[in-house]
């Protein structure tokens, strides 16, 4: 099987952007392709819902037309908020199969153009139809998990707030982050209540942004060594555990097996912190810490920039912003920069990095392992 490498990456600043989605994707593409010939065998576009967010369908054709990539095969992949990593995954397999030698992955979403109540309605469609008939939203499901985790493991509200504080600090060091401002525990605890015990600063933001990655069978300095993907029941009420997610555990196991790595080998990770509780639960499910030990890892700074296992050096979804379809590929960009020593003021020492992207309410998850070579 041919080995698969990353030759370059590009990203736009995330946040409230006035440009169209295709313009944002072009901006990300320009950063990645600057010194290369655009001789791609195929284009994979990760985007969750351009139909509802920007009113365009057939987006795979629209984007190659916009980029001037005439006649190149293009496909759009919707995998809920794991669309970016799913596009990356399919692009990876297309090169690993030997069928293609060089492919372009684009991912993005534009969400801020709609009123929040409409965006909330679109995002709530990710939830099982019965569960959303109760009024449950994504933050409500996260709040249910948070409450149970606090009960089982003694997590305090103040400790939970540290996840947002840490990721906002990292965001101040990332010029592409939506939020580049420190916040305090007090500010988190005073922010608007969304779904008790979760407040506004516990939730990733609605955002616009795009990313691009070029995958190739020609050797570069970053190799894709593992990809694991797993699903779980759509309904939260079908699941056995409310404080741990099988889709993460199984996806991680598959990625570790493929790369012949273990959790202890990982130097840096980007995990899907759509809600602060996930900044604690995800590292546990990825095998970095035992159940309940994610609290101490956060509180003691182990997952901070100077800790033993820096997590979400980019600022994560919380501070970088969460344009849903873009997020998975933004994680890949951050890990590539960390492995290449191009992460600027947030640089950590790393040879092996992991990305963890969630689709739906933690039921379609992808774990990717990248290594320096």
């Amino acid at each position: 099987m041919p080995k698969v490498y990353i030759s370059s990456v590009g990203i736009t600043k995330f946040g409230r952007r006035k440009e169209s989605l295709q313009t944002l994707m072009y901006e990300a593409y320009s950063h990645a392709v600057s010194s290369q010939k655009p001789d791609f065998d195929a284009v994979f576009v990760g985007c969750m819902n351009p139909d509802e967010f920007v009113g365009d369908s057939n987006f795979a054709t629209l984007i190659v037309d916009h980029l001037g990539l005439y006649q190149i095969p293009s496909v759009r992949i919707d995998n809920a908020p794991a669309s970016g990593s799913a596009a990356f995954e399919q692009a990876f397999f297309s090169v690993a199969s030997g069928h293609y030698e060089k492919v372009l992955v684009l991912a993005g979403e534009k969400m801020t153009n709609l009123p929040t109540i409409i965006t909330t309605r679109i995002l709530s469609k990710l939830i099982d139809k019965y569960e959303r008939s109760t009024g449950a939203t994504m933050p409500a499901l996260a709040a249910l998990v948070t409450r149970r985790y606090m009960h089982d493991y003694g997590l305090s509200r103040e400790e939970l707030a540290l996840a947002a504080v840490k990721n906002h600090h990292n965001g101040t060091l990332n010029p592409y982050a939506q939020f580049q401002k420190e916040i305090t525990v007090e500010e988190v605890l005073k922010s608007k209540i969304i779904s008790d015990p979760l407040r506004l600063y516990d939730c990733a933001s609605i955002s616009d942004g795009a990313c691009s990655v070029i995958l190739t069978s020609s050797k570069t300095d970053v190799k894709v060594t593992g990809i694991g993907h797993a699903t779980d029941f759509l309904s939260l009420q079908y699941r056995d555990s409310l404080t741990s997610f099988n889709a993460t555990k199984v996806a991680a196991k598959r990625a570790y097996e493929m790369s012949h790595r273990q959790p202890k080998d990982i130097d840096v990770a980007e995990v899907h912190d759509a809600f602060t509780i996930l900044e604690i639960v995800n590292p546990e499910d990825l095998g970095f810490f035992k159940p309940g030990a994610g609290i101490a890892a956060l509180v003691d700074g182990k997952t901070g920039l100077n800790g033993g296992l820096p997590i979400n050096t980019s600022g994560g979804l919380k501070a970088r912003g969460h344009p849903v379809g873009a997020t998975g590929l933004a994680q890949i960009c951050e890990i590539v920069w960390q492995l290449r020593g191009e992460a600027g003021k947030r640089q950590v020492s790393a040879n092996i990095g992991l990305c963890h992207n969630i689709g739906g309410f933690v039921n379609n998850n992808i774990v990717t392992i990248l290594e320096s070579c």
């Binding site: 109540i117 909330t120 309605r121 709530s124 019965y130 569960e131 959303r132 008939s133 109760t134 009024g135 449950a136 939203t137 933050p139 409500a140 709040a143 249910l144 998990v145 409450r147 149970r148 009960h151 209540i193 969304i194 779904s195 008790d196 015990p197 979760l198 029941f233 759509l234 309904s235 939260l236 009420q237 079908y238 699941r239 056995d240 409310l242």
Partner: protein, 99 residues
């Protein structure tokens, strides 16, 4: 209340034909409406068409079947609270037992 159970051991509330765990045909069974609150939230930022706030509870019934439902009384929102599921106005509600 009605639940669906599979030979693989999976039990889910609300009727469904195929098991989400193994794909085999599920059997319909009646279970008691006794319920225990596993977790809860009060939702303030509600979707279009809902009144604020919504009291939501995820409860456990017989054989480990779980149900997400609304709760009529905020005072019933407590992990470990025992009560019953009632069906009114096309919706399931958790109502805590009187102490």
């Amino acid at each position: 209340m009605q639940a669906s159970i599979c030979n693989c051991g999976k039990i889910v509330i609300l009727g469904r034909k195929k098991c989400p765990n193994c794909g085999k045909t599920m059997s319909s069974i009646e279970i008691e409406n006794d319920a225990l609150v596993l977790t809860y939230t009060t939702l303030y930022t509600v979707p279009e068409g809902f009144n604020t706030p919504i009291f939501l509870a995820l409860v456990e019934l017989e054989q480990g079947a779980k149900l997400l439902c609304e709760c009529k009384n905020e005072n019933d929102l407590e992990i470990g609270r025992k009560g019953k599921i009632v069906f009114e106005n096309e919706k399931y509600y958790f109502v805590g037992n009187k102490d």
